[in-house]
Amino acid sequence: MLKNSGSLRVRLAILFGLVLLGGGLLVLLTTSNFAKQAADEAYDKLLASAGFTAMESLSVIEEEINFDLPYASLDTLSLSQDDRVVYRLKSENKGLLTGYDKIPEPNGFDMSADFSQGKPHFFTANYQDEPFRFIVLERLLVESGVQEKVWLQMGQSSLARSELARDLTLKSLVGILGLITLGLLFVWLAAGWSLNPLLKVEQELLQRQPTELKPLITEVPSEATHLVEAINRFMARLQRNQDRNHAFIAEAAHQLRTPLASLQAQAELAADETNPDQFRQRAERILRNAQETNSRINQLLSYATLDHRVDVLIPKPEVLENIVAKCLADMAPIAITKGVELNFDNDIGPVKVTADPEAIREILRNLVDNALKYGQANASKAEVHVGLQYAEDKNWVVLQVRDYGMGLPEELLQQVTRRFGRGEFRQQSGSGLGLAIVEQIMHGMGGKLELENGIKGGLKARLLLPLSKPEELTT
């Protein structure tokens, strides 16, 4: 089982849940404030109505202020069940006329501000440790014998208000919770629905035969196309690998079977030979054939190594000089036995290029080997020259392997770098070059292979590699 970093659904649900919860809290807070306001407004109207009704019954009888508290006034207040009621009537000159003496005083400044605008004055204060809402009304009595201001203050405890506010808030809470639940449900379903194409891809992959490496055909949303493309590229690479392996095995079988059969036949003939001269001749022929077969097997294996690398290239910044020097040091003994001079000129010093060191080494070995083997017939001089220099574009480095033999016929120059098939492979094997593979590896590292015949003869094989960029140097 693969380790995973958690479910997308759960991630989405948590994220969305947090957003919803935050939003919900905000709404709840606002609603709670709003509910308090609404409750206050509603019950303030009751309080005002009770106050106005009571004010109506204020009169002057025989030069005395008379207040006949109407039943309807306090009855109005009993609409908010269970709330206590206090009130008092005060006059400018006589002070308390009737009602409760020790109830909270209004703020005189705020009160006159309200009165100056013709509004009743409302305020909230604690009476006997209980929050009360008060209204104060003012009236100027101008009757015979009486000319003074009278204030009626009426208050009611806040049970009904808080209950209404609580009730409103609770109701909205139900709505908010419902929305959050719906939102989460929606996210859950939506996530499932959006992830469905990926499940289809999974299905398609699971239902395939192990050897079937065709591109996926399931249609996916744009966000997932990159994933599917990556899968398809990966499968294409697998397909190529597989094709190449098949071709290689077939080729190897063909290449090995014929010389081995011929060796066996010659050995049988040699075994029957009684004449010592004839026997030696046959033995020498067997030796030559065995050497040829050996060389052919080496080529095949070298090819196989390179071929494999095409798909596992790991290009990174490397000092090219080191790789070349080491490889050439390995090749030097072969050059010496062949009596060929192997020279290396580095015009650019220890620069870094982006390349896979194994691949470079193998390619270089291959090129030098070819030059040693095939570049010496009719050579103007017995030398293989390896050079390292900048290309015309200074972002590129050229690694050139040059011999002084006959070079390659023009039509073959075109052919060798072409993408190979089975038939071409056979042709190329004759020339001893897996150059098509080399070309592919170079391409894979972001570089190029160029082949050219020298003006005075000889073959120039040039590897172009990109210089490492500065930031790559630091990594």
Binding site: L74, D75, S78, Q81, L97
Partner: protein, 355 residues
Amino acid sequence: MRRFLRITLCPMLLLLTILNTLQAGTYPATTQPETTLKILSSTDERVMKTLIADFQQLYPQVAVEYLDRNTVPLFDLFLEEYQQGTTADLIISSAMDLQIKLVNDGYADTHSMQSLEWLPDWAQWRKQAFGFTYEPAVIVYNKRMLQGEAIPQSRFELIEKLRDQPDFFSKRVGTYDITRSGFGYLIASQDAQQASTWGRLTENLSKVKVKLYDSTSAMLNAVQNNELLLGYNVLGSYAYAASEQSDNLGIIFPSDYTLVMSRVAFVSKRANNPDQGHNFLDYLLSERGQQLLANKARLYPIHPDIKGNVTYSGLQQAAQSRGPLKLIKLGPALLTYQDRMKKQNFLQEWENVLR
């Protein structure tokens, strides 16, 4: 003159209070450990005796002290005790307005409403004041002296008869002295507030030189003894109980409207033993207590499931053939006639007409 009376009355009341404290009915507990429940009530002790005994059957460890007062002295005594620190545990009074005033002004403890869902909204206030009875205010008449057409069935008929036969009724009609009876004041203020007949009624009562009583039993006795032809606005429960003892008492539910009041109980905030106060209140409102209120105390229990004549359901039935019941709801509106100026005006007017 009146002012003088009040001043001299005060020390007398105080003396009376002390005497009455000594006279409180005590019902000792029968098991230990003992705990004492004090009830301050305007309901006659003899009416409540059976209930207390039954309560003690359930809670034998509770000793009960029952202090019986008229509504106004009860109100004063409670306030005085409250100032001093501790009061009785349960306060019961038929003066609903005075009880509401005490509750409104923060003297009551909150009661658990568990198992009281059946109680109608108007019969409780703030979960502190609880009405446990459903009693009509009635007209009682002397059966021997008033018969047939002569019996007034409504306030209109009463006014008519008083107006038409002032000599016949002279000094032979009684009602409460509302300056001294809290219940009388309550019922009169409700009459004044509910109906336009009040003015004419008081005028005509004045014309026949109405006799004023400060207790129900005194008025009932007077009717029974042929001193009175009828009594107006009498507490129906006491009248019913008295009519069961005497052939001479008739009861009329006025057909224009019949006022219905409740005895109100609350547990004091400064109770010595609030737990037992709540306990007795629960007992009063329990089916067992309510049943006993109907059967023995004849106090018209408020529980709708109790059957019988002197019950909520009985009264509802009786009213169907008579006229509307006007119940007095518990709530701050009852504070209106307790307003100092309002009360002064109302009493002034009453005295002006009736004295």
